[in-house]
């Protein structure tokens, strides 16, 4: 059994331990760079919870156990060393318990709302079907991870009656773009894309009137451009007014100075170009669509921004569609309507929570939040206030005040609670305590070095 002995020697060698420590450090460093370039989810899935990371963490545990076996029979003086090493193993075991049996999600409630649906990080693809267009029944539900298993390698397919729905592409970062395209509905308003250009400036923008919308405005600082279907009176800025007359489906333009004096005017046509008379700015009408609508499209991006979401491309009956995260896609056959939804998985709590009230405290004279707190009612009738650093513990779950959403005037709309159940908590705390205690004792134990010398004379060289 010479090879077994050799493996054992390698496993208990401190040299290998140093290598493992350095590898773990290196991997973690790469993870932080990934997180900075991409995002936390990317780093977690590709590095921190990758098989490689788990392999080295596992190897470290094996080493720690082997070294402890090697020191058998243990004496009192071994206790700091044992404490530190056992502590590390227990902490890691606790983390594993948390990862597999814990829950970490968010619960968003508006004031007065009762809820028990916790959103977690996993993604889920669900399909609902309806024959009458009224009542939808779930027909498929699958937890998916397209980041680790890209559908471009292995398409994910669902059978819907005689048809096949196939997810064939995935963009972890997709930029949601609204395009303005011609529509056939007579209720749709106009869209105008204009350009203002001189030697220093080149701006192009869309102006668009949706259904029931009377005005759209592009504020460019020293000047503004307005699309409206009624008279526009505001002064104080150089203004270009596009006036749209719905019955005729025609538009005209007016260029005004700060005092409202009309400098130029005329009928608006696509492709026209006019000198505005301000700073040599030339106005061009790039597009003029009398009946226009907004349409969502997605564009793959290499890196995330707050405006990107993950999105899928699906094929159904020969047509391709985009489906963004936390949104739905409607598909139709001759006799059935389908709704496909892709987004975060939801987990039901065994009880309801009601948000009675939500308050934001602000630093004086500013809109900066100083504190925020939620009054919630539990299912057993207790009213509790959850605030930053004051969580609610209820039936094994802990609720933390995480954040909130407000409207433009600063009125709170939603309170976001973070919901957590952590069966590994005790082990992590115990392990951490042992490591700390062990490390402190280790460095005060003067006999340690002597003992290490006795034990491993070869390594001390």
């Amino acid at each position: 059994m010479k090879w077994l002995d050799r493996i054992y020697r390698i496993l208990i060698s401190v040299k290998l331990a140093v290598v493992v420590i350095l590898v773990l450090g290196g991997l973690s460093a790469i993870g932080t760079i990934y997180e900075s370039r991409y995002d936390a989810e990317y780093a977690q899935k590709l590095i921190y919870h990758s098989p490689l990371m788990y392999f080295f963490l596992g190897l470290m545990c094996v080493q720690l156990i082997m070294v402890m076996i090697d020191r058998w029979p243990w004496k009192w003086r071994h206790s700091p060393f044992l404490l530190a090493h056992v502590g590390i193993i227990i902490t890691l075991a606790g983390s594993l318990v948390t990862r597999y049996w814990g829950l970490d999600g968010t619960l968003s409630l508006s004031i007065g709302e009762k809820g028990h649906q916790v959103t977690v990080n996993d993604r889920q693809l669900s399909i609902y079907a309806s024959f009458d267009g009224q009542k939808f029944t779930p027909i498929a539900e699958r937890t998916v991870d397209f980041l680790l298993n890209p559908p471009s390698d292995q398409p994910v397919e669902f059978r819907l009656g005689d048809d096949l729905l196939s997810v064939f592409d995935y963009a972890h970062y997709a930029y949601q773009k609204q395009e303005i395209v011609a529509s056939t509905s007579e209720f749709d308003g106009p869209g105008i894309r204009f350009q203002l250009q001189n030697d220093n400036v080149n701006i192009s923008r869309w102006l668009f009137l949706g259904r029931g919308q009377g005005q759209d405005l592009a504020d460019l600082g020293p000047a503004q451009v307005v699309l409206t279907d009624s008279p526009y009176k505001k002064l104080g800025q150089n203004t270009i007014v596009f006036h749209f007359a719905s019955p005729q489906r025609q538009a005209d333009y007016e260029i005004r100075n700060k005092e409202g004096k009309v400098l130029k005017s005329g009928e608006l046509t696509e492709g026209m170009s006019i000198d505005t008379g301000w700073m040599g700015l030339q106005l061009r009408i790039l597009r003029f669509i009398p009946q226009a609508k907004r349409q969502l499209t997605y564009e793959k991006r290499e890196q995330p921004s707050p405006a990107t979401v993950s999105a899928l491309r699906v094929k159904f009956r020969g047509e391709e569609h985009w489906l963004g995260s936390n949104s739905v896609l409607r598909l139709f056959t001759e006799n059935t309507a389908y709704v496909v939804s892709y987004g975060n998985r939801r987990v039901s709590l065994p009880f309801d929570l009601t948000l009675k009230d939500f308050r934001v405290g602000r630093y004086q004279g500013t809109m900066r939040a100083m504190s925020y707190e939620s009054d919630v009612l539990t299912n057993d009738g207790n009213q509790v206030t959850i605030s930053m650093n004051n969580p609610l513990k209820h039936q094994g779950f802990t609720f933390y005040q995480a954040s909130f959403q407000e409207d433009e005037s600063g009125k709170p709309l939603l309170s976001v609670l973070s919901v957590n159940r952590d069966p590994g908590r005790f082990w992590k705390y115990l392990g951490s305590l042992m490591v700390t205690l062990g490390a402190i004792l280790l460095f005060y134990d003067k006999s340690l070095k002597r003992w290490a010398k006795e034990k491993a004379p070869g390594e001390m060289a």
Binding site: S13, V14, A17, V18, I21, L22, G25, S28, G31, T32, I33, E35, S36, A40, A43, Q44, Y48, S95, T98, D104, N200, V201, D219, L220, G221, P222, M279, S305, P306, A307, R362, Y363, Q364, G365, T366, R368, M370, S371, M388, N389, P391, T398, Y400, A402, S418, V419, N420, D422, R425, K428, S432, V435, T436, A439, I440, F443, A456, E459, M460, A461
Partner: protein, 550 residues
């Protein structure tokens, strides 16, 4: 006890020097309460911060900010044409087609520049789309802040001087009700009189009496608006004292005296110099503590919540650790090295105001009132202090290796023990701090460990030092290796301390994020790597020659 007495004596001499400096018109206005940035602060702080934002410094042409900023309101026609608005970003200067010879421009030329408005609009569009601003657009944002603050002060809108009994936001100068407005006008008239007299250089001191009286009358009337909102007088006075006294500047001066004396003592072994060194270090430390105490009192929390505060706090920890170690081991290297560290850090806080922002600012909600938060940050930054000490000791030790390894064998042995000890302490503190951070995260967010970059880099640094200790155990790392690895692994601490916030810029610790200084910090790290490589090469070739000659 002798050196404590020496220290106290030295200290009192300097303190009397500091307070003897003359007073001017603005002095009388300094402690008028104003509201800004979510808190009540003395006008002095408002003026300093405003002038720093626009001009980059706290004084203009030798005049105090308190004088200068009020004249923006009183004689804007003078300032509109004065070239004092700093535009530091060269790309932005180019985009605005500004005069390349300067970096200071007059408000007028900026306001009249048609491109300014367009760029600001573009920047706002980016902000609305929640895009991260690159340095160029950060510069645009700064410019917008500069211009809007100047505009706000000039038209009496940004200076909020009296509480509004009906609301949270204070009343601006332009909106003061009649009696208050009159008092304010009387005050400014008196102010102008004094300033003019000073400017005319009349040797006889201008009569400050009327101004003092006007200030007092205005203050009392403003207080009557809503006494409970008018701020705490003692805090206001303390803040003005902190602004004008510069405790950290005095502190590094004393630390500098300490390092020079201790250096002298280690060269010529004079006991008196050594005692002077200790004395100066103690006074420096006292001032250092005093300054941090003032900040803590004003903020109502320990001063460890942004980069500036930790750069002040870490050398404080280094000094304490070093003093204890020097005292206990009777070694003569710790205090010298730690004084150098302290001088370096504190000068840094004085020299880089745009990166290390010393503004006293209110906290994000998650950081308020939390025992674990404070503890974990204090412990982790203390570990940085220990590693900083180990790093600086190793830096010094490399000199011995460069000069003559054999001749300085005893010195090297001594510093080596010191490095080892400092790293041990650092490891315990950092390990404990990481765990406390986990406890805090668990307590505040419900998760113990979440691979947040800040905590991950703390762990990486911990791994790095752990590898050193284990490497030492198996004989991979000996004396020279210890010095080298101590210098190199401090880069990990710099990454965890500075890099995560300023380079990576990701994660939950975003309330500490900032920008700037990357090139200097990188240069610092690169220089030390070069230094290590240089010493290693010289040492290698020397060892080889020795072998050949043997």
């Amino acid at each position: 006890m002798r050196f404590i007495k020496t220290g106290i004596l030295l200290g009192s001499i300097f303190l009397s020097l500091a307070s003897a400096w003359g007073s001017s018109a603005g002095d009388l206005l300094r402690d008028l309460p104003v509201q800004q940035g979510g808190r009540v602060k003395p006008y002095d702080s408002f003026a300093r911060e405003s002038l720093k934002l626009l001009y980059g410094r706290e004084k203009f042409g030798g005049r105090e900010a308190a004088d200068v900023v009020l004249t923006w309101l009183l004689i804007p026609e003078h300032w509109d044409d004065a070239q004092f608005v700093q535009v530091r970003h060269s790309g932005l200067r180019e985009a605005l087609k500004l005069d390349k010879e300067r970096i200071y421009y007059s408000p007028k030329e900026l306001f009249l520049n048609e491109r300014v408005g367009l760029l600001i609009q573009e920047m706002r569009t980016k902000l609305q789309a929640q895009e991260k601003l690159n340095p160029y657009f950060q510069a645009v944002q700064t410019l917008e802040n500069q211009l809007s603050l100047y505009h706000g002060i000039k038209f009496g809108q940004a200076l909020l001087v009296a509480p509004d009994p009906a609301g949270d936001t204070w009343l601006a100068v332009a909106r003061l009700p009649a009696p208050l407005g009159e008092k304010f006008a009387t005050m400014t008239k008196a102010f102008i009189k004094v300033v003019t007299a000073e400017a005319e250089g009349s040797s006889a001191k201008a009569d400050l009496g009327p101004l003092q009286a006007a200030v007092n009358e205005f203050r009392e009337l403003a207080r009557q608006q809503a006494p409970e909102k008018y701020g705490n007088d003692r805090k206001i006075k303390t803040e003005v004292h902190l602004n004008t006294f510069h405790p950290f500047m005095w502190s590094w001066i004393f630390y500098l005296v300490a390092s020079l004396s201790l250096l002298g003592a280690s060269v010529n072994r004079r006991r008196s110099l050594y005692i002077v060194g200790w004395g100066a270090a103690i006074v420096g430390f006292g001032l250092h503590t005093y300054g941090m105490g003032l900040r803590s009192y004003l903020l109502g929390r320990p001063p460890v919540s942004n980069m500036y505060e930790t750069v002040v706090w870490v050398p404080w920890g280094t000094m304490i650790l070093a003093a204890i170690m020097e005292w206990k081991s009777r070694g003569r290297i710790y205090l010298l090295v730690s004084s150098l560290v302290a001088v370096f850090c504190l000068i840094l806080t004085d020299m880089a105001p745009s990166v290390l922002d010393k503004t006293l600012s209110p906290l994000e909600p998650v950081l308020r009132d939390n025992f674990w938060l404070t503890t974990h940050v204090l412990v982790i930054t203390l570990s940085y202090a220990a590693f900083f000490l180990a790093f600086a000791l190793a830096d010094v030790q490399l000199f011995y290796f460069l000069r003559d390894e054999k001749r300085f064998a005893a010195k090297i042995e001594e510093t080596n023990k010191a490095i080892y000890r400092a790293i041990q302490i650092g490891i315990i503190l950092l390990g404990g701090g990481i765990i406390l951070g986990g406890v805090w995260a668990d307590y505040s967010w419900g998760r113990f460990w979440g691979w947040d970059p800040k905590e991950t880099w703390a762990l990486i640094a911990w791994f790095g030092y752990l590898a050193i200790l284990h490497g030492r155990l198996v004989g991979w790392i000996r004396q020279f290796g210890m010095a080298v690895s101590s210098v190199l692994s401090f880069s990990l601490v710099i990454m965890a301390w500075y890099g995560v916030n300023f380079v990576l810029g990701a994660g939950l610790h975003s309330y500490g994020f900032g920008a700037g200084g990357v090139e200097y910090v990188s240069a610092f790290v690169a220089l030390h790597i070069l230094w290590v490589v240089y010493v290693a090469t010289v040492r290698q070739s020397r060892l080889r020659t020795n072998q050949q000659s043997a």
